[in-house]
Subunit: 360 residues, 2 copies
């Protein structure tokens, strides 16, 4: 089949990890007889360098014509990038938020998985990690504090800043459905995280999630306060299957959960809208300090490409093949520096990409 | 000296842990020749049982007449407490938020400390905890999402809920000053946590914190995004001295930090206003499942009483004596069930209180 893929190389290590993901996708095309037609899209620092702004209408229009977009990492080195001198609202973050909103990517899926082979990198005590864990954070991505009205003003001569956290039932319902749908394909447990003892938006959240749950009698739903969840992720991550939460809580908890796996260089993410379209990117940042040194771990991006095959292109066998290739390479003992362990062979970004591509 | 202390016994294990803290304070009074005049105050479930609401004007007025308030834990068992049937806004949480606001307790101090004797309870891998850690979270407690306008309404037939996150420069300045003042007595490092790449309130926060920092040239200030902080607390908690943050982020991060120590039954907290007045309570919850069984660890409450001696009553030597007594008891190998370890002697709530009181 023929597919149109947008590619946002991004900043820092972005270009080099995307290059390896494309290498792996090339191997998939060859093996399965597909053709991927790639379009380069500008976002973040790369867009600022060309257009002076992190996101243009052109990028949005081009993205809309694609079946999916694969992205490296956005964001630069705060100390050296000229665009860190820009007004915050014009910085690359704005590009990221802008494209999420423009493409209506409301469902952010972030798996947090403890790899058997990488157990020694897990920051938790062995008796806690022994149970293993495999969670998926379903974060609402186009609402809440990120997109509410905000203003900074002087009130009686006192500088005052306000952000607004709003959710309506439709926004909550569609993300809750996504969480339950995916739970049905996993361990059939959804833990919805909120702060319903304080926030009105959380009380509505809880109510609507309960309503949606009625259509999924097989799924066990629980509710947890966000402060408690931040604790449980450290003490007992094995209890979680799907964690469903709003935008800001999801930002915090998904980063905590990734770190708890000890393998943030391995974790992928997908941001989906109501159609099959999605934007796929590693969970980690752009690590400008190691950019261009053939040190970055491309696996998170390669696994994001696998998610793209699965969720946007319906190519399940192909996605399985990429994931199996990654596991195979780990089993054979190849590691980039970030996940290096005794008795393993350290390889660079390019070599890791090649090894995985060869095993597809 | 003569002091007036308000006592909120609270719900669940509250009454029994407060009883032990008073036993220790009695020992302090005896040794140092003070007199504490205690007034019982109703809050939370106990107030609902008597008055039908979690907080009354009477409690506020009585509290204002005290030099400090010592509190157990508020909140009941969601399954069995009749007041969990109440509207959320009338529940005990509302009492807690109400008293914070009424007494202007804007500065919440939560130490998160790795006890040498309790290292084995730390959920982190040994090579991470080896460095030890000793942080203090300074959480803003009377602003932000907790106290902004909120509403739930139908907009064109769609249920919509809104909360508001507002900070003004005065609110930020006073909590920042507290953080820098306390950093001066510690390791002279403040890490201010925000989400300035997204929120206007965080951008103002960062700006005002920078302004305050100018008056503390000896203190090293850094800024960190909240999602990154949630990761750093797991990967490298030793890097932190004072963490300064707003209300909701502080709620999440301080719970995470307490859990990372592995000793949440040991961690105290203070909520202070502009004067010497403060409310002191354990960091942990009311654990209704073990209430009345002589199982609860009273140490967090005893250490909260020590903070009270130090911050509200200016009795530093007395506070030191209580803290030393706690350490002594740990060194001698006494443990409540929650921190029990091989080779130690398990004791109950009452015995632990007595052991500490005897060593003051
Ligand atoms: C860069 C930032 C605006 C972004 C967010 O907070 O959503 C990032 O942390 C993420 O999680 O993708
Ligand atoms: C009970 C709840 C309202 C409260 C809060 O969120 O402030 C609690 O979690 C705390 O940290 O004291």
């Amino acid at each position: 089949m023929n597919y149109k893929i947008g590619v946002i190389s991004g900043d820092g290590i972005g270009p080099e990890i995307v290059r390896e993901a494309r290498k792996v996708l090339d191997a998939v095309c060859k093996k399965y007889g597909h053709e991927f037609d790639y379009t380069d899209l500008l976002l973040g620092g790369a867009s600022i360098d060309v257009h002076g702004v992190p996101l243009t209408e052109e990028t949005i229009e081009q993205a809309k014509k694609c079946d999916a977009v694969l992205m490296g990492s956005i964001g630069g080195d705060a100390k050296t990038s000229p665009w860190y001198q820009l007004e915050p609202s014009r910085r690359p973050e704005a590009g990221l938020l802008g494209i999420r909103k423009a493409l209506n990517l409301f469902a952010n899926l972030r798996p947090a998985y403890l790899y058997d082979e990488l157990r020694s990198a897990c920051p938790l005590r062995e008796d806690i990690s022994a149970a293993g864990f495999d969670m998926l954070i379903m974060r609402e991505l186009t609402g809440g504090l990120y997109f509410g009205a905000r203003k900074t003003e002087e009130v009686d001569g006192v500088r005052t800043a306000t952000d607004t956290l709003t959710y309506n039932e439709n926004e909550i319902r569609r993300i809750a459905k996504r969480a339950f749908d995916i739970a049905m394909k996993r361990n059939k447990k959804v833990c919805s995280v909120d702060k319903a003892n304080v926030l009105d938006s959380s009380r509505l959240w809880r109510q609507v999630v309960e309503e949606v749950a009625k259509d999924y009698p097989e799924v066990t739903l629980s509710h947890m306060y966000v402060d408690n969840c931040a604790m449980q992720l450290v003490m007992n991550p094995a209890q979680f299957d799907v964690i469903l939460t709003e935008n800001m809580f999801g930002d915090i908890l998904s980063d905590e959960a990734s770190m708890v796996t000890g393998s943030i260089g391995m974790l992928s993410s997908a941001s989906l809208n109501e159609t099959k379209f999605g934007l796929y990117e590693p969970s980690h940042g752009s690590a400008p300090d190691i950019a261009g040194q053939n040190k970055a771990n491309p696996i998170a991006t390669i696994l994001s490409a696998a998610m793209m095959l699965r969720y946007s292109l319906d190519l399940d066998a192909e996605a399985d093949a990429v994931e199996a290739a990654v596991r195979q390479v780990l089993k054979e003992g190849y590691r980039t520096g970030d996940i290096m362990a005794e008795g393993c062979s350290q390889v660079g970004t390019v070599e890791m990409g090649t090894l995985i591509a060869e095993r597809v």
